[in-house]
């Protein structure tokens, strides 16, 4: 494998609907293996479209995508991708254990042996007691954690998360971020994390990609040189705030270039 887990070159994408909005225009991005990369930007900047293109759920109209040295479709077929959508997307009739075990039952030929012990993984994620419950019996935060465990259970090379914590309250979100970091540090994977929270992006990432809308494009790439683990102390440090301010400014610039819709 080359040094890049995800490689995007000149990606363009126009929405198929009657709006013909240019969702992405000339997007270049290279993500090295094992990096945690967040994509941040206002709504309509094409960040979710970008994620869907990497996941092979959408075809770009221009440019090339390489994931794990191959096409997204091939990477999906080889089960190298783990996807965590905005909603947990669990099956209500299956237990937590049934839900996280299901991906191993489809496309079995490409299961990455040995399969992890899902019970152990659930216990590790604090879901040991909930294992035999159904999604409806869980809180929103727990459901999202189940979706994350399901993705990690595939032992993916690339993990794609689309605003997974956006529906959660502040406290739950912080706990979920920690859980995600713990799993990631233990299991490893290249992560592409879409978010609209600056704090979340700085806390989680090695690199933050700033995007702007109309047309959707990358306006800046900021490396977050902060040590891990990212403790509460670190989050309160001036360095952390410095990064938050930098990102806030870059996002504001993106808005001002766009028109005059400066966030009030």
């Amino acid at each position: 494998m080359t040094g890049a887990a995800i490689d995007l070159h000149g990606i363009g994408r126009v929405h198929d609907d009657e709006t013909r909005v240019v969702a992405l225009d000339g997007v270049d991005l290279s993500i090295p293996v094992g990096r945690f990369v967040s994509v941040i930007g206002p709504s309509g900047c094409g960040k979710s479209t970008l994620l869907r293109i990497v996941a092979g759920l959408e075809e770009p109209d221009a440019g090339t995508v390489t994931v794990c040295g191959t096409t997204p479709a091939q990477a999906a077929e080889e089960k190298r991708l783990g996807l965590v959508p905005q909603q947990p997307a669990l099956l209500p009739w299956l237990t937590v254990l049934g839900n996280v075990s299901l991906p191993a039952k489809v496309n079995r030929r490409h299961n990455r042996e040995p399969l992890p012990d899902m019970r152990e993984l659930l216990r590790r994620a604090g879901l040991g007691d909930a294992m035999h419950q159904r999604p409806a019996q869980l809180s929103g935060g727990m459901r999202q954690r189940v979706a994350i465990v399901r993705a990690f259970g595939l032992q993916p090379d690339v993990l794609l998360l689309d605003e997974p914590f956006s529906a959660l309250d502040e406290f739950t979100r912080e706990a979920q971020q920690q859980e995600l970091l713990d799993l990631w540090e233990e299991r490893g994977a290249t992560v592409l994390f879409v978010t609209h929270s600056i704090l979340e992006a700085v806390r989680l990432s090695d690199t933050v990609v700033v995007m702007a809308p109309r047309p959707g494009r990358i306006v800046d790439i900021v490396d977050i040189d902060l040590p891990r683990p990212r403790t509460q102390e670190l989050i309160r440090s001036p360095e952390f705030h410095g990064y938050e301010l930098t990102l806030r400014e870059r996002l504001r610039d993106a808005f001002e270039q766009d028109g005059h819709e400066v966030a009030s």
């Binding site: 869907r52 996941a55 092979g56 759920l57 479709a73 999906a76 077929e77 089960k79 991708l81 783990g82 996807l83 959508p85 905005q86 909603q87 997307a89 669990l90 099956l91 209500p92 009739w93 299956l94 299901l102 991906p103 039952k105 489809v106 496309n107 490409h110 159904r134 409806a136 019996q137 399901r150 595939l154 794609l160």
Partner: protein
Amino acid sequence: MSRPVRTSVAHPAYWAPVLVLLVVLGVLWQLGAHRMPYLLPPLPDVWSALKGDPGYFLHNSWVTLREALLGLVIGFVAAFSLAILISEVNIARRAVMPVAVVLNVTPLVAIAPALVVAFGFGPAPKLILTALICFFPILINASVGLRSVPVPVLQVFRSVHASRWEVLRHLRIPGSLEYVFAALQIVFPLSIVGAVVAELSAAGSADGLGTVIQVASSMNRLATVWAAIFVLALMGSLLLLLVTVVERRALRWHGSR
């Protein structure tokens, strides 16, 4: 979890209202029966018609029940298979749906005599009519159910390259159960309607409760007619109870939502 407190079935507040209504209806019935003997038979007569020859009613009930259930199974298999086809293949959907809708607005009981002419007095026209009547509600509900899987779930499974069959087996079919049971609630009682109407239209049939009604009414034996009707009502209620119980067990996950 914030379900309202349910009244226990054993509590008078649960069964008393319906019992009172039944008593009132029974009294009204008896009054009517005494004034106009050709309108309604007295209830004791109905009871003695039943008690006089329980074997006769049991046999004919069994015949009708068998026709109803067998027709329902045939209709179910046909409708569910077609629902899978049209939920997977768009061309098939465009071809089938208009025809199915026309079939639905056609009063199917009206084709019963034609079926009898074509297939005779045997079980065939009864099974065909029952299957046809059950067909549409199952087709519609199943095809809606099969397409009810949320997009994010489908995306997760596409991202692991799940095959069409795997999506069908793990997501679409289990996801459609809720809708299929709703259809069964409608279709179980309808299956009896289908069987009885076909029997009524086939004046030469040997047995079945519809035939019992046909024969008895031609001889002005109102008590027997009503005995058969009560048996049909009981049969329908028991079938509905059966579906409800099975549904509760199969969709237990659903109740906890």
